[in-house]
Structure formats: structure tokens, C-alpha cells
């Protein structure tokens, strides 16, 4: 975790998230989700891992997931980027 206890972190600022969806999504979709490549897990899910500039950017991606009719499995925050 990159959260440091004594430093105020911006919950609305940039953060790294892992968005997991059901089904294996071909690599041609990587660009649509703004990542260089998509990771396929053995349990039949696809992981999109990326830094989002803010919450609005994350919701934008979730909307794309929705518009493609992809079942969402989980959204996990991996870390918060320090603002510089």
C-alpha cells in the first residue's frame, strides 16, 4: 500500500485500481480501456489495472464496461498516487 499514515492523501485524486470483469476479453480491447494489455486469469476473468486521474475517470471506465454488457466482478483500489 502506498498510503503513508502521516501524509494527507487525496481520496478524489489519482489512484491505481484493478477492475475485474467476467470473461476473457481479447487484446483488441486494451486501447478502449486505456491500458497496454489485458490480463486473463484462469478463473475466466479479465483484469484491467491502471492509474486513474480521478474518480470521474474511473466512472468513465465503468460506464464502458456497462455499455459493452460485461459483467463486473470487482473494483479494488490498489494504491493512491501522491500528488506532486
Amino acid at each position: 500500500m502506498s498510503d503513508t499514515p502521516n501524509k494527507r492523501t487525496d481520496q478524489h485524486g489519482p489512484g491505481t485500481y484493478e477492475v475485474r470483469i467476467a470473461g476473457h476479453l481479447g487484446q483488441r480491447w486494451a486501447e478502449r480501456f486505456g491500458v497496454p494489455s489485458l490480463a486473463h486469469d484462469d478463473d475466466g476473468t479479465t483484469v484491467i489495472r491502471r492509474v486513474f486521474a480521478d474518480q470521474a475517470a474511473l466512472h468513465g471506465l465503468l460506464q464502458t464496461v456497462r455499455d459493452l454488457g460485461l459483467p463486473l466482478v470487482s473494483v479494488t483500489r490498489i494504491g493512491i498516487e501522491q500528488q506532486t
Binding site: G23, G26, R28, W29, R32, H40, R66, D67, L68, G69
Partner: protein, 901 residues
């Protein structure tokens, strides 16, 4: 410019021949008594539109009125959204013409306007279904709130039907609990094995085994779009078993996998066609030809449609189609993978095509998508005047923000366009820098097509105008005046709107600074420019300014003419009365009151109230309260007048007009007249006015109020203490008013001076002052300036009459001192035409609270429909059309205090 676009949005989907009929679902969409909202909520590709099509076919067959609207990105702006809803109502139910005109004229789609829409719906026999397809594209809170308001007030028989990929924020749990919501969700929509078999083996004629069907239904989880794709790829395949085994045996994203299968089985030319046209929101033969650089696309589209390849018609003439959203997404992903270098070029061709067709909005979107910033910049620059006129600043801002900032800063027209859009949204950061950039860019511009010459000519005026606006925001009046003057002087002859805006700003600056002659001339220019460019409501507002300035200058006749001219302008607009009309009638009531014509004043107050908030500008509530208080005072009802002023003060909203007559000072005058000098003295402390103050036109009204207070105090103390200082104070005010050309103030000052001299037993000086006031006031017919000063003034006038000074006028004035008879009260409807029942009064009391309709129904333990019937009756009896007006009217009529529970 968007006419063809709107037409395709209003086209209701038709059921394809041979589709699987789903009576179990379409039956649930049929009208039932309690239903207000039908929600079809499921992911993409679950057959929502097909279900709507099936129900629509049945509904129209039995004569149900349907207003259908397919939503897309063009509905992001509330004004556009409601305009499209109204267009759908016009097409589907033949109502809403007045609404359309009001929106077109720039009225904001707020609750007042939506209340009128509800009234219109209530007049549609049998009700109407408003169908909003793809509601998930809406993410503006104002639109959700407006829709919630509409839903809450929907008359019996009418419903809202929404299809969406995401549940809308419309209080669904409550609607559900009350049985007013019919829902069709993913679990309902997915094909069950029987429907899957019916579709695959029936409609598609595939002859699959029961096991195959079950496997497919299982793998696709009944996802209809996927089953359709599976059927397409299975058609004419000998190895169905192998395909199904491979398909069900992998974890691939179902839709992607199936589209890939389908694409592999198409001829290369068709495959190329599908991928390359996937960038288009709307497909037609000509635009596809343009994008592909070929011909014959119309026939290809026709073939695709007949082959059931996810192409839906957008009109009856088969001119426009669109791909199924999911299908288009997958095609685009393939295109990006296979020919990433072509995407930009395809968008550029589409932009060029739409530009030649005059479809600016589509052209701009494709130009931006194709990174063709020069074309986008030129197109955006050209659409700025229209966007400003129709108040679509939000869209303009989005477009300009999609351009690289350097492009915007280098183009003076775009630069000031963005400044205008930002200011309209209350964003002040970085404005000065952007204006400086625009100025620099303007100096460097040579004719290389960044914008038309006419538009470039308007830029300097706009730059100075926005600088004046920024100075006003900072409260720097000299800078504002200087900038507004430059804007007005530099404006191009044909630039009516620019001239009008600059003149308005100059008018504000001159008014605030006390130069009333120039203020009046500026506001007049402003009115003419606004009227010439069709900005009716703003023109009406400028007329109120003109009237107020004219009164201060002592020109009552001019004030009347300004308002009457504005009323003639308002009458030229078809449909609903434009905003500002209610303000005009309130102002006119005040002018008639000043002339002592209370019957006319009451009449205009009644008209103003009937028009209501919807026809009022921002300060309307305050203006109305002040005008009503004036009439109440003349009727001798000081308590009511004071209450009205207290409310008016609360309703005061600072607009751009200087606050030259603070309501608190008006209230203090009433208290002085009522002999409540302690309360008036409190006003003096709070407002901080003092006899030693420098004179200033902005504080003149307060200073003259102070003079009234001092007079009353001295009279009450029966002492001449302080009277010399008062006379000196009035002398200073008089000289200032003379310098500022404030003839109306001069009359008032002369009257107060006459009273002050009278207190000092200087009858000669008193009479001289009075005679001066009479000479100034008679030609314009002022009455209340005299009468509002009460008994001491009546006494002075009596003396004048004995001396034979202006006898006819003085007699008329003296007659105005008795309280106006209140016999005329009923004609303003001071009692409801029909008394309210006890139950209705209960409802009315709850309408005054924050509770919403359902909560009120619960509180009274009645059904929502009963509650609505009561509400409707109440509105009828009070002659109002929305909740807010009902509460206000009830308060006016004192209906709410009578029987506290």
C-alpha cells in the same frame, strides 16, 4: 441545423417481421391504473428496444398516444433534452406547441415551465405515454430532477416509460412500494430455453437439437444479442455441433467471440464496409460512400438490414440507419486493431461530408475525433452566434475544451467564445489572461479563414464587454465604466447584440455612478438591440431599468412609455408570455399607484400574479411584493403592507441592477408613517445612515428616508431641535439631485423641505418649497409622493389651496389623502372563487411543508390518486398551476392561519 437529427430521434423502433413475440413481457407494459413509471432496465443487447417495439405496435393499434424519444449525446443539455421531449409530444400527441416556443425563446426548463407541461398533459384525453429510450446517456442532475418533478405530477392515465442500462435516480423504491412502478429487468428479458428454441429453430430455422439450444442458452445466459449473433454464424454451417462445442468450451467475451465468427464469414468487401462505417452514429448511403470513397453503399445498407445484421432503421424511408450499439463497439475495436492508421482519416471524411450537408454538430464531432482541429475550430467559430442565442453555452464549452488550448488561444473568436461560455457558468479563473490572448491574437490575425470578418469585427467589443463584466464582479465601478464605454464605442454597426450588451453594461455603470441621463440613453440602446435580435426577455428586463430610472428623474410619462413599449414587444411572441412580462405588470402597477389610480394598479397586480413566477425574471418576487405593499399602504392596511415588504426583502436577489431603493428603507418609511418610530430608528442604526453622510445617488433613497424619520421625531418631540441641521441636510441633497438630473428626487426633497420649514414656523419658505414641488410634479401627474407624507402634508396643501396655488391639482392631491376604499378588493380575487373544503385545506397546509406528494398522501392516510385529486381541485379553486403558486396564493388569502391544528 439539427433537424434531420431530431427526426431520427423521434422515430419509434418497428418490430422486425418474424421476431419472437413475447406477450408475457409486452403485456406488462400495457397501461394499468396505478402505474406511473414503466422501467425497462437491463444491460446492452438484452432486447429492450425490441420489447418496446413489440409493445408500441400493440399500443398504437389500440389508439394509445405515444411520445417516443430515443436519447443520445445531444440530450446532455437540459434545454436540448426538454426540447426533444416536447418535440416527441408534438409528434405523438399533438400538444406542446407553446412549450416548444418558450424553450426556443430561451426560457429555462425549470419547474415552473414543467408545471405548464403537466397541465398540457392533463388536457390529453386518455393520457399519453412518454417513452425515453436509452435514458442511461443522461447524467445531468438537473435533468433527473426535472423528470422526477414530471413523474410526481403526472396526471392520471399518463405514464413515463424508460429503457436504460442503469437505473435512473427517480425514487424507485418508493414507487415500487406503492405499486406505481412496473419493472422489466434482465432476468425477465433473457430468453428462457423455450424462447431460445423458438427463436433458433423457428425464426432462424436452424434445426438444432434440444441439447444444442440448451448449451447456447446457457453459454449466452439468455443474452439475446449474443443468441442472435450465434444464430447468424450458425446459419448455413454444416458443423453446428463443433461450433457450439468450441463456443461453450471457452471463456471468451461472448459478444466479441461471436462477432469475430460472423465477420470471418463475410466477404472481404462487406467486412471492410462494416469496420469502416462503424465510426458513424448514423449511417446513410451518401455518408458511407463518402467515408469509404466508393459508391453503392445504399444498396449494401439495404442488404445488411435485410440480412438482419444488427442494423436498425431510423426512419420509414430507409435513409438513415444505425448499428446496434454493442455491434458498433465491437466493430470499432476490430477497426482499431486492424487498421489503426485509418481511423483518423475516416473521421475526417465524415466531417467533410457532414460539413457540406450543413450538419454542423456532426461535422464538429467527427472533426474533433479525427484530430482535425482547424476544421473543428472554423466550424465551432461559425456556430457560436447560434449557440449563444439558444443559450447552449455548455455545449460550446465542451467543444472548445476538446480543442487544444493553443488553438483556442490563437483564435480571437474562439477565445472570446470560451470566455463567454465560462462566465455564463460562473467560472472566473483565468479570464483576464484569455482576454489578453484574444486581443493579441486579434492583432496578429491575417485573413486565413479563422472566422468571418463580421465575427472578427465583433471581437474588440466582446473583449471590452467581458472586461467590464469582470470589473463589475470585482466591484471596480470606474474600471467597469471605462471598459463598458470602450465596448459601446467600438462596436461594429451591424453587431446588434454586441452593442446591446455593451450598452446594458454601460447603463448599469452610469446608473450606479449617478449619471442617469446617460444611463437612460444606454438602457434604451440596450432595449433596441435586444429587441432587434429577438432577446425578448432581456429586453423586458432592460425596460424595467428604464422605468425605474425615469421615475427617479421625475419622468412618470416616460416610465409608462417604456413599459408599454415592452408590453407590445412581449405580445409579439407567440405562445406563453415571455419571462419578464410579470415584472412589467408589477412595475406598471407601481406607476399607476404613483398617479393615484389604484383600480388600474390592482388590475396589473392581478395580471402579474396570474402570469406568475414562470413569466418573472430573477427579481420578480421582490418587485411584486413591493408593488403589492404599495397598494396595501394606499388602502390604509399598513400591517399587510409591512408583511409584504418583509417577504419582499427576503425574496430580494442581487442582480446586476444597483439596489437604489433598498426594501428595508421602504419598510422604514411605512413604520414612520405608522408612527412606529422606535422600529424606524432601529433601521437607522442597522443601515448606518447619518445626517453627516456625503450625498451619493446610490444612498439618496435612504437619505430621504432618514429625513422623514428626523421630521417625524422632531414633530413628536414638539421641539425645533435639529431642524436647522435637517434643513441644511435637505439643501445638500437638493443640490446633489439637481446636479444628477434626478427630478423625481427633487420633488420629494422640496416636499420634505416644506415640511421642515413648516416645523420651524417658516411658513413663507415652506410655501415656496411646496410651490416648487407642485410645479415639478403637476406635468407628470405625481400623486403619492404627496399623499404618502400624510397629515402634515395635507395641512400644507390646504394652506396652498387657500392661497389659490395650482387649485385643480391641489384639490386632486387632497382627495388622495383619504385611504383608498377597499370596495374593489374582490375583483383581485381576495377570496377564492369557490371555498376550499376542510380536506383541501389539510392538503394545502401539507403542501406548504417540504413533504413530497407520496409523503403527504401517507400523512393524510389517503391514496396518492385521492391526494392528487385534492391537489388538482385546490389549484383550480386558487387559479394556479403549481404547488409553489398555490402556497403563495393561499398565504395571500390567509387560508392557512385560520384553523391551526
Amino acid at each position: 441545423m439539427a433537424a434531420p437529427l431530431v427526426a431520427t430521434k423521434l422515430y419509434a423502433p418497428r418490430l422486425r417481421p418474424g421476431s419472437v413475440r413475447r406477450p408475457r413481457l409486452s403485456g406488462r407494459l400495457a397501461p394499468r391504473e396505478e402505474t406511473r413509471l414503466v422501467l425497462v432496465s437491463a444491460p446492452a443487447g438484452f432486447g429492450k428496444s425490441t420489447l418496446l417495439a413489440e409493445w408500441l405496435a400493440e399500443a398504437t393499434a389500440v389508439g394509445r398516444r405515444i411520445a417516443f424519444l430515443s436519447l443520445d449525446h445531444t440530450d446532455a443539455d437540459p434545454r436540448a433534452f426538454w426540447s426533444h421531449v416536447v418535440a416527441a409530444l408534438q409528434r405523438g400527441a399533438g400538444v406542446g406547441e407553446t412549450m416548444a416556443a418558450a424553450l426556443e425563446a430561451g426560457d429555462p426548463p425549470d419547474e415552473d415551465l414543467l408545471a405548464i407541461l403537466l397541465n398540457i398533459l392533463a388536457g390529453v384525453p386518455g393520457g399519453v405515454d412518454i417513452v425515453l429510450d436509452d435514458y442511461h446517456v443522461i447524467d445531468r442532475a438537473e435533468i433527473h430532477a426535472g423528470l422526477a418533478f414530471l413523474l410526481e405530477g403526472l396526471p392520471e392515465g399518463s405514464r413515463l416509460v424508460i429503457s436504460t442500462r442503469a437505473d435512473p435516480p427517480l425514487q424507485l423504491p418508493r414507487l415500487r412500494a406503492r405499486g406505481e412502478l412496473v419493472e422489466v429487468r434482465a432476468a425477465d428479458l433473457r430468453f428462457d430455453p423455450a424462447e431460445a428454441a423458438d427463436y433458433l429453430n423457428g425464426t432462424m430455422g436452424l434445426r438444432l437439437t434440444a441439447g444444442n439450444v440448451a448449451d447456447l442458452d446457457d453459454r449466452t445466459e439468455g443474452w439475446i444479442a449474443a443468441l442472435q449473433l450465434a444464430a447468424l454464424t450458425l446459419r448455413g454451417r454444416a458443423d453446428a455441433d463443433d461450433f457450439i462445442a468450441t463456443f461453450t468450451g471457452n471463456d471468451r467475451y461472448v459478444f466479441d467471440y461471436l462477432v469475430e465468427e460472423v465477420l470471418q464469414r463475410q466477404p472481404p468487401e462487406l467486412r471492410r464496409f462494416l469496420l469502416r462505417t462503424s465510426i458513424l452514429d448514423r449511417l446513410g448511403g451518401p455518408v458511407c460512400d463518402a467515408v469509404l470513397g466508393t459508391s453503392g453503399s445504399a444498396a449494401v445498407l439495404d442488404g445488411l438490414h435485410r440480412g438482419n445484421l444488427f442494423l436498425m432503421p431510423l426512419d420509414d424511408r430507409r435513409q438513415w440507419y444505425r448499428y446496434h450499439h454493442l455491434f458498433a463497439e465491437v466493430l470499432q475495436a476490430h477497426l482499431r486493431e486492424e487498421a489503426p492508421g485509418d481511423v483518423t482519416e475516416l473521421h475526417r471524411r465524415a466531417a467533410a461530408f457532414f460539413e457540406t450537408q450543413g450538419e454542423t454538430e456532426s461535422a464538429i464531432r467527427h472533426a474533433l475525433a479525427g484530430s482535425e482541429f482547424d476544421r473543428a475550430a472554423a466550424l465551432i467559430a461559425r456556430s457560436i452566434p447560434e449557440l449563444r442565442r439558444s443559450r447552449q453555452e455548455a455545449l460550446l464549452r465542451d467543444w472548445l475544451k476538446a480543442l487544444p488550448d493553443a488553438v483556442v488561444r490563437a483564435n480571437p473568436v474562439l477565445g472570446v467564445g470560451l470566455v463567454g461560455a465560462l462566465l455564463s457558468n460562473g467560472e472566473f479563473d483565468g479570464i483576464d489572461g484569455r482576454l489578453a490572448d484574444a486581443e493579441r491574437a486579434l492583432a496578429q490575425v491575417t485573413a486565413h479563414g479563422v472566422a468571418s470578418d463580421a465575427q472578427l469585427d465583433e471581437v474588440p467589443t466582446q473583449i471590452w464587454m467581458y472586461r467590464a463584466a469582470m470589473a463589475q464582479v470585482r466591484g471596480d465601478m470606474p474600471a467597469m465604466m471605462a471598459a463598458a464605454t470602450r465596448a459601446a464605442e467600438g462596436s461594429a454597426p451591424g453587431d446588434h447584440l454586441g452593442r446591446a450588451a455593451a450598452a446594458g453594461l454601460l447603463g448599469i455603470a452610469c446608473w450606479t455612478g449617478g449619471d442617469l441621463e446617460r444611463a437612460a440613453a444606454s438602457w434604451n440602446d440596450c432595449f433596441l438591440g435586444l429587441a432587434a435580435t429577438g432577446h425578448v426577455s432581456d429586453a423586458l428586463g432592460s425596460s424595467v431599468a428604464l422605468a425605474e430610472i425615469a421615475v427617479t428623474r421625475g419622468r412618470l410619462g416616460e416610465a409608462f412609455r417604456a413599459i408599454e413599449r415592452a408590453l407590445r414587444l412581449a405580445a409579439t411572441r407567440p405562445g406563453l408570455a415571455p419571462r419578464g412580462t410579470a415584472d412589467l405588470h408589477a412595475t406598471l402597477a407601481g406607476l399607476h399607484r404613483e398617479r393615484g389610480d389604484f383600480a388600474a394598479a390592482r388590475e396589473h397586480l392581478a395580471t402579474s400574479r396570474q402570469l406568475g413566477d414562470r413569466a418573472g425574471l430573477g427579481p420578480y418576487r421582490c418587485r411584486l411584493g413591493v408593488a403589492m405593499a404599495g397598494v396595501a399602504e394606499g388602502e390604509g392596511d399598513l400591517a399587510t403592507a409591512l408583511d409584504l415588504l418583509v417577504d419582499a426583502e427576503r425574496a430580494y436577489v442581487g442582480d446586476f441592477f444597483p439596489n437604489v431603493r433598498p426594501v428595508a428603507a421602504m419598510a422604514a418609511r411605512l413604520r414612520i408613517a405608522a408612527g412606529r418610530l422606535d422600529e424606524a430608528a432601529r433601521w437607522r442604526r442597522e443601515s448606518g445612515v447619518g445626517i453627516e453622510d456625503e450625498t451619493a445617488s446610490l444612498r439618496e433613497y435612504e437619505h430621504l428616508t432618514l429625513a422623514r424619520l428626523l421630521l417625524a421625531e422632531q414633530r413628536a418631540a414638539r421641539s425645533g431641535r435639529g431642524s436647522a441641521e435637517l434643513v441644511e441636510f435637505l439643501g445638500r441633497l437638493e443640490r446633489a439631485a439637481e446636479r444628477g438630473g434626478r427630478g423625481g428626487s427633487l420633488i420629494d426633497i422640496a416636499l420634505l423641505k416644506a415640511l421642515a420649514h413648516g416645523l420651524r414656523n417658516e411658513s413663507g419658505a415652506a410655501m415656496a418649497s411646496l410651490e416648487r414641488a407642485l410645479a415639478l410634479a403637476e406635468p407628470e401627474g405625481f400623486v403619492r409622493l404627496f399623499a404618502d407624507l400624510g397629515a402634515p402634508m395635507a395641512e400644507l396643501l390646504g394652506n396652498a389651496l387657500r392661497r389659490g396655488v395650482a387649485p385643480a391639482y391641489v384639490r386632486e392631491l387632497l382627495a388622495a389623502f383619504a385611504p383608498v376604499r377597499t370596495a374593489a378588493r374582490p375583483e383581485t380575487g381576495e377570496q377564492p372563487a369557490e371555498p376550499l373544503s376542510e380536506r383541501e385545506l389539510d392538503v394545502l397546509r401539507l403542501l406548504r411543508t417540504e413533504l413530497d406528494g407520496p409523503a403527504i398522501a401517507r400523512e393524510l392516510e389517503v391514496s396518492l390518486n385521492t391526494m392528487r385529486t385534492h391537489t388538482k381541485k385546490i389549484f383550480e379553486k386558487l387559479g394556479v398551476n403549481n404547488r409553489r403558486s398555490a402556497v403563495r396564493r393561499a398565504e395571500e388569502l390567509n387560508l392557512l392561519q385560520r384553523r391551526p391544528r
